[in-house]
């Protein structure tokens, strides 16, 4: 389990996490990249700029 750096919610990675894998925070939908496995740590994945709507 990792903590979302954006909103501090608990995020559960897949059963067998892989370094570089992207997991999604269920709370704020931030994308987190798995950095290390033992312990499992994650950081915000770089955001792709989306022109959302306008």
């Amino acid at each position: 389990m990792v903590t979302c750096p954006e909103c501090e919610s608990a995020v559960v990675p897949a059963a067998t996490p892989v370094i570089g894998e992207i997991v999604e925070c269920g709370e704020c939908a931030s994308e987190l990249e798995i950095l290390t496995l033992d312990p499992v740590r994650a950081a915000l994945a770089p955001e792709i700029e989306e022109d959302w709507g306008e």
Partner: protein, 343 residues
């Protein structure tokens, strides 16, 4: 089975009550009233109920003979207050969906509804029909007044901030509503060719529901209402000043504290995807109210957004939820439909 009668069953809220109660395992509808359509089948004005019921309307007065345990009132505001004393003698529990018993202060009522309240002594007996903030009282309430559709969205969006002391000063509420919010008898303004594609600022300020939000949050509220292209759906976009020191994290925490265990309120404030903040179109038919926020640290403001289906969570669904609370049933009973996407 609990025996329920619906007064004003030919209208849009009445029809939605019929739909929800038809799917409710613990309730039977013993009377559905309409003077205009007395004797006609309820699936005439409510064609979605075809094949589901053979019920027919009775006149409004026939509710007296229905032997109902619960009365659900979906009659127009201003019409309801004068008849309330009578209704209260007819059933042990009365749930009113009109605006007549929502405001605690008759003076405020008069200011917003343009007429004096004719049954002010009955107001204190009513409990606000919003389980998220009045669940305990509702479990024992015999007189329940369900908040307005835009008010429900506004209160659910603003109140967690107010309770947590995270906002200060007045709140500007910009509400948007679909055409069903005016009921089935909309008049010329409701004609499709006129209402279609509208962005009708029918209340540039001082919309009635602002008084309900103010009452529930303790903040001064200014509310604008715009009719938008939709049949169902309400959205409120609310602007407030953050209290000094309040951070995005505080805001998120306050929302979670308020709603983490709520069956029908979801906190939606996402950083990606198409549906980042609450939007009514995926809530059509559902009893959810989605609430969300965006914090602007640069100038210390917060934007709070709420969305719901005015006929469900903002009306009939809210009433059924109160019924479930009142009778100690699981709160989701009869209200399971999650909403549709795409839609």
């Amino acid at each position: 089975m609990l025996r329920v009668a619906i007064v004003g069953a030919s209208g849009y809220i009445g029809g939605e009550l019929l739909r929800l109660l038809h799917g409710h395992p613990r309730v039977t509808v013993v009377a559905a009233t309409s003077d205009r359509l007395a004797g006609r089948r309820v699936d005439g004005p409510h064609p979605n109920l075809r094949g589901h019921t053979d019920l027919c309307f009775v006149g409004h007065d026939a509710v007296e003979d229905a032997g109902a345990d619960v009365l659900l009132l979906a009659a127009p505001h201003r019409e309801t207050m004068g008849r309330m004393a009578g209704y209260l003698t007819l059933a042990g529990t009365v749930i009113d969906l009109s605006g007549d018993f929502r405001l605690r202060d008759p003076g405020t009522y008069a200011a917003y509804y343009g007429v004096p309240h004719t049954a002010p002594h009955l107001i204190p007996g009513f409990t606000t029909g919003l389980p998220e903030w009045h669940r305990a009282e509702l479990a024992a309430a015999d007189r329940i007044s369900v908040p307005g559709c835009m008010a429900t969205a506004g209160i659910l969006a603003v109140r967690p901030m107010a309770e947590a002391g995270l906002i200060e000063g007045p709140v500007q509420v910009d509400a948007r509503t679909g055409s069903s919010g005016s009921g089935a008898s909309g008049g010329p303004a409701a004609a499709h060719a006129e209402r279609s594609g509208a962005l009708r600022v029918f209340a540039p300020s001082r919309h009635r529901h602002e008084a309900e939000i103010a009452q529930a949050t303790g903040h001064t509220v200014r509310m604008t209402a715009t009719g938008v292209e939709a049949v169902r759906g309400v959205q409120v976009v609310c602007h407030a000043k953050l209290a000094p020191g309040a951070s995005e994290r505080d805001v998120r925490a306050a929302f979670h504290a308020a709603y983490a265990d709520e069956p029908f309120v979801r906190v939606v404030a996402r950083r990606q995807g198409l549906y980042r903040l609450p939007e009514p179109k995926i809530l059509t038919g559902s009893n959810h109210c989605d609430v969300g926020f965006a914090v602007f640290a640069d100038d210390g403001t917060v934007v709070l957004v709420g969305a719901l289906d005015n006929l469900v969570k903002g009306g009939a669904g809210g009433a059924v939820q109160c019924l479930n609370v009142r009778f100690g049933w699981p709160e989701r009973t009869g209200l399971e439909f999650p909403g549709l996407h795409p839609n």
